[in-house]
Symmetry: D2
Subunit: 142 residues, 4 copies
Amino acid sequence: MLTEHEIEIRVRYPECDPGGFLHHSRVFIYFEMGRTELLRASGDNYRRWEESGLYAVVVQAECRYLKPARYDDLLRLRTIVRRVTGVKIEHEYLLYRDQDLLCRGRVVLALVDSAGQIQPIPEEMQAVNVESHRGSRSEQPR
Amino acid sequence: MLTEHEIEIRVRYPECDPGGFLHHSRVFIYFEMGRTELLRASGDNYRRWEESGLYAVVVQAECRYLKPARYDDLLRLRTIVRRVTGVKIEHEYLLYRDQDLLCRGRVVLALVDSAGQIQPIPEEMQAVNVESHRGSRSEQPR
Amino acid sequence: MLTEHEIEIRVRYPECDPGGFLHHSRVFIYFEMGRTELLRASGDNYRRWEESGLYAVVVQAECRYLKPARYDDLLRLRTIVRRVTGVKIEHEYLLYRDQDLLCRGRVVLALVDSAGQIQPIPEEMQAVNVESHRGSRSEQPR
Amino acid sequence: MLTEHEIEIRVRYPECDPGGFLHHSRVFIYFEMGRTELLRASGDNYRRWEESGLYAVVVQAECRYLKPARYDDLLRLRTIVRRVTGVKIEHEYLLYRDQDLLCRGRVVLALVDSAGQIQPIPEEMQAVNVESHRGSRSEQPR
């Protein structure tokens, strides 16, 4: 199970607003793509989760916007598993254009079954806490 | 069953693009709102259709764009049932700002069950053909 | 200048996701509609701000999701001016379905000119701090 | 100037609707990505067009939906220049999942300046008509 992953995202025309910049609501869609691809890169697949009746629901989301992104910018999104408890998974998201940090986000997920009942986080995911902690020692995220 | 209905739509900021105008893809979302509200005004409800296992799927969609809409414009969408056959429903859509016709669209729907099998259009909907024809005699749509 | 305002929002079909619920990113679009309508109800107009070269940019956004909203739900969004400083405006957002609080959000805005330079918040908007404080004494928000 | 180009698109979670399928309005966003990337692959760049005051506006758009796409599907979009006149550019779009053709679309563009005045299509783009015609002889699009 990876604890960090990076993807590239090309900003689409209708994701930008009349002000000319990426609309602030869209970064949460990018963040979701980031955690989906982190899962895929770890050999797992979120669509299969849903097919087996396990759904990730967002319980908290936040973002700080430092610099705007524009149409057609090629961005780099770094997704980091920050904390996994018995019932919650927390990722951090860093969105860059070249070396410029544009946004820093945080999303907390819970897992529910199709009836909406909270489900425990799988043990193999909880194990990433330790790895993530080790990782952060050797490599300081900006 | 009504064969025509009108709703008002306020253009949202992130529905517009860096060019400053309503993105052309969004009108199909407006058209869907138009047919949903026509159904509601007729005493029916599309969410209940889905809850009972009947889904409307779009088989064809088209639009001609005559004038652009801008952020914060208050638009008027007129939805008209144009044709109902045993397996298809066709609506026409006229999107106005004041007296200016901005777009003219057409969407063809089919009904499917949860397995994706084509379902017959309910007879009471097929009856609107006649009403629609009568209506169009007394009132010429622009 | 009003410090609170309420609008109704009907959840659109493509605003919901395959899980069947309003996608978490869309509430930030609703929040933006809430502050736009608060401004309009106060006799002002955000489109005119942009036409005069003044842009509101989001510097921070967050939301806690308590209960999910579904397709076709008729929601009530309450927008509250929480704090206005010399350079920032902070609103709180409470999204309800009937008496159920679904989401509680917070968005911080700054004003910039067309060159992206931070502009001071107009004095009449800063005055709402006092009014807002008075209001919160007589009426405790949930 | 290329007359055909292909890109891959991964269907995003919030691009799908409660029915579980890619919402029909989103394909027009995909088509726009297709023509943007065809232009980039030809050594040109649409963002630079806008920076120089030339805007592509959609005057007509249509699509036939043959099979639905689902969340997380990896699709292949083929964009083909079909016709270029003095004032219009017409592309055809074929959206595939593996060998299955899901959608066939057509979008007609005009070019305008920042005042909205129709601009002539650059001669080098009009030249593609001939190439496209030659191309279609040797290679029958499905």
